[in-house]
Each structure stands twice: as C-alpha cells, then as structure tokens.
C-alpha cells in the first residue's frame, strides 16, 4: 500500500472519499477530517454533486406502490401517534402580525360584552402542515375563554374541526368543535385552564360532525401551534 502518486492536493483525496475508494487508515483519516475540516467537506460535496451526473445514464424505474405505502407507515404513522410531542418542532409562520390582529379581535369581543377591552394572556398561531388551515387564537384567563379566528381554510366536507389543548407531555384535551363562523369564543373547561400556558400547544384535528367520539383526536391533525404569553 505504498504511496506511488502523491496527492495533487486534497481534491483527489476528496474524490476518493466521495467514491468510497479509501480503506483502512486512509478512510479513518478522511472520516475524521469530514468532522472538523470544512474545506475538505466542501471538496467532498463538490465531487458528490459532480459525480451524481453519472446517474444521468441510469434509466428511471418506477418503484412498486408498496414502497410509498411503507414510507407512509414509517413517517406518517409514527407522527400520528406522537404528533403532540413533536409540535415544538413546527415553526410558527404567522408571527407578529397575527398577534396584533388578535388584540383587535379581543377588543371586538370585549367591546360587545363589557365595553372594556380585555387583554389576552396567551396566544397561539395554528398553522397547517399540509392543509391550508390557519387559525389565530387568544386566551383570556379571567373569563376562561379562548377566542379563535379562522383566517384561512376550513373543515372538510361533512367533517368538523375540533380544537385541542395539548399540555406538555400530556394527552390532548378537547376544547370543543369550531362553529362555521369565522370567529368564536370557546369556553375552556375549568380543570384545563391552568394547563393553558406556555409549553403547551393548541391543535385542530379533522373529526366527524359533532367532534371526536372517543375524547381523543381521531382524524388528521390539520393545524398546530405553540402557546406563548402575550
């Protein structure tokens, strides 16, 4: 294994690494550089991008449907079981504009009732992963009311939208089914009120008319968002 050809520079070593030609100590050394040497990583990535062109000569072959079916089980099945534990990973894309609007909704609701605008304690922006549902929500602790404003999307035909509170590490608690109106005030059950706080999240699932028959979400999760203090 003597070195007959000195490396012109790292680029040839990077090509050998990208092709998987290195063995033994050379492979280990290159592997170590991949962890700490960004210039070397860039060389390897550049080679990978170029070498992928070789695949242009490979004819496409339609895979059998069972591969996608298995992937759905792997990815979506798992996510359906554990979605309320993953919501922290889903970024809010609604942002500050919705917060400002929520204060307006609160004012709207408040003026109707008392003439004095209540200040929401918490808010959440619920956005769909693969649905177009966007719902802004604000919670008034003093009243135990969750004000919701459906800004885009809606229930599927002959289905209902059910709102859930998901306290950190706990199972979802139903807050009720959304009415057809765009805006609504949902009364949060007394025992759930202390749990509507930062660290928890709100979610909306697709359910049969009237809501989940089991007390837990049964359909697709259409939108989720973390609860933040106002």
């Amino acid at each position: 294994m003597s070195e007959q050809t000195p490396y012109d520079d790292d680029s040839v070593l990077a090509a050998e690494y990208a092709l998987g030609l290195l063995e033994g100590a050379e492979a280990q050394l290159a592997q170590a550089r991949m962890a700490e040497d960004q210039a070397f990583v860039d060389l390897v990535r550049a080679w990978e991008a170029e070498l992928a062109g070789i695949a242009e000569e490979v004819a496409p072959v339609e895979p059998p449907p069972r591969v996608l079916a298995a992937l759905r089980r792997d990815i979506f099945g798992q996510q359906d079981r554990r979605w309320w534990q993953k919501i922290g990973l889903i970024p809010s894309i609604v942002g500050a504009a919705a917060a400002a609007m929520l204060v307006l909704i609160a004012v709207e609701f408040g003026v109707l009732d008392t003439g004095a605008p209540p200040v929401p304690d918490y808010r959440a922006d619920l956005v769909g992963e693969d649905s177009d549902l966007v719902v802004a929500a604000a919670y008034l602790d003093a009243r135990g009311e969750l004000l919701v404003d459906r800004r885009a999307g809606g229930a599927r035909p002959d289905r209902a939208l059910e709102v859930w509170l998901i306290p950190e590490g706990e199972a979802p608690i139903s807050l009720g089914v959304l009415p057809e109106e765009r805006q609504a005030a949902l009364s949060v059950p007394q025992p759930a009120r202390p749990k509507l706080a930062e660290g928890a999240a709100l979610a909306i699932s697709d359910e049969p008319p009237g809501g989940s028959p089991t007390g837990a979400p049964t359909g697709d999760v259409l939108a989720v968002g973390p609860i933040t203090a106002m």
Binding site: M1, S2, Q4, T5, Y7, D8, S11, V12, A15, E16, L19, G20, L21, E23, D42, L43, R45, A46, W47, E48, A49, E50, L51, A52, G53, I54, A55, E56, E57, V58, A59, P60, V61, E62, P63, P64, R66, V67, L68, A70, L71, D74, I75, F76, Q79, K86, L89, I90, P91, E129, D130
Partner: protein
C-alpha cells in the same frame, strides 16, 4: 434563462473556483430526471417544505423523483427486493435530512442521487463478505437494460449541452479510465476490485485512477 443559472448553482466544482466562469451551458435534463430544468426550482421548494415536515410536499417529491432514485438503487444493487428496501431508507433519510439541504450547495437532484447511491453502496458492501470479493451475492434479478454502462444511441444523440458535465469530461479520459470511475461510482468497486478487473497491479490502479481524477477535476473546473 433563469433555469440555466439555477442549474449552475448545483454544479460542484465550478462553485469552488474563484472567478467562476459560468459561460458553459448547464445540463438541461437535470441529471436524467425527465423533466425540464425549470422543475429544479419546484424540487427545491418541495425539499424545503419537506424540511418543515410537510407530508404533502414529501409525497410530491416522492412522485417526482422516486423512479430515478429507484433506478440508481437497482443499478447498484441489481436486486429488486434490496433496491426497494434501500429506496425506503433513502426517502426516510431525505425526510430527516431535508431540513439541512442548502439549495446553493447542490442541485436537489444530485443531493438526492448522492444519498441513494451512497446508501445503495453501503448495502452492497454489507452484502459482500469482504472488500476483496469479486462475486456479487446474486445477479438473478439483474435487469439486462440496467447493466449497460455504455451510452446508447439515444444518449449520444442528446445535444452535448444537455449532458452532465462529468459525462462530457469522461470523454477526455481514456475509455478504460472513465469506466473505472463509473465502476467505483455505480458498482462500488474498491481499488483491489478495479485492479483485478483491469488486470493491473494494485498500485498501478491507484496511480491510474488518481491521475484520472485530477484530469477530471481540471475538466470540471473549466
């Protein structure tokens, strides 16, 4: 013309060169994915949505790219059952890694092909008893049309501008050197296997291939 600039973004070597000249027309066929180059932007958008956990985008991406990646897995493994398993692993990896995809670094297709090729080669090597082996465990499911590395008449008829730069640079190498690089990429051949295939001493093989890689790099950087 924006699609040409978009294609250039994915090119590895010229990105790394200072004063990168981008006059050369980029491959129009998107690495053999039979869609117009403009769909590269779509693929990038799909990948970034997959990175956010968007299932619909994942399915769209799968439908747009799985035939190509399955072709690569089949070509490397020459076994349908193993290629199916590998394809499943590849898309799980894409689902997990999409969040780290940087559009400026690679074209979405070459990024995904690299994942598929590397995963398939890992599988191939796990199957082999050792790197010295020349025998594949089985070729029973080998599809005849996948075994042919030589460009067919249809391929050569493609205008030169539409071919991947690496394939055009292969033409500047002696034919057996280009075959050696292809074998390393698509068959996972080690230096020892290449030396046996070309019936030359191991060190000669290493010298050969390294020189070829230097030439290839120079051509790619041009």
């Amino acid at each position: 013309m924006h699609h040409i600039a978009g294609a250039c973004k994915g090119r590895g070597w010229r990105r790394l060169r200072a004063g990168d000249r981008r006059k050369r027309v980029a491959p129009g066929r998107g690495l053999g994915l039979d869609v117009p180059m403009t769909e590269h932007a779509d693929l990038e958008a799909m990948l970034s949505r997959v990175g956010l956990g968007d299932r619909g985008a994942f399915e769209s991406l799968y439908h747009a790219t799985s035939a190509k990646l399955f072709g690569v897995c089949l070509r490397v493994l020459k076994n349908r059952a193993e290629a199916e398993d590998t394809l499943q692993e590849v898309y799980l990896r894409i689902w997990d890694a999409a969040v780290g995809f940087r559009p400026g670094q690679a074209s979405p297709m070459s990024w995904m092909i690299t994942i598929a090729r590397n995963r398939a080669i890992d599988r191939l090597r796990a199957r082999k008893p050792g790197t010295e082996s020349t025998q594949r465990a089985d070729g029973t499911d080998l599809l005849a049309d996948l075994a042919d590395d030589a460009p067919g008449p249809e391929r050569s008829a493609l205008a030169a501008e539409t071919r991947a730069q690496v394939l055009r640079c292969f033409e500047e190498l002696p034919e057996d050197r280009a075959i050696a690089v292809r074998r390393a990429y698509l068959d996972g051949d080690t230096y020892a296997e290449l030396a046996r295939h070309f019936d030359v001493p191991l060190n000669t093989m290493r010298t050969w291939l390294r020189r070829s890689l230097m030439k290839l790099r120079d051509c790619l950087s041009r």
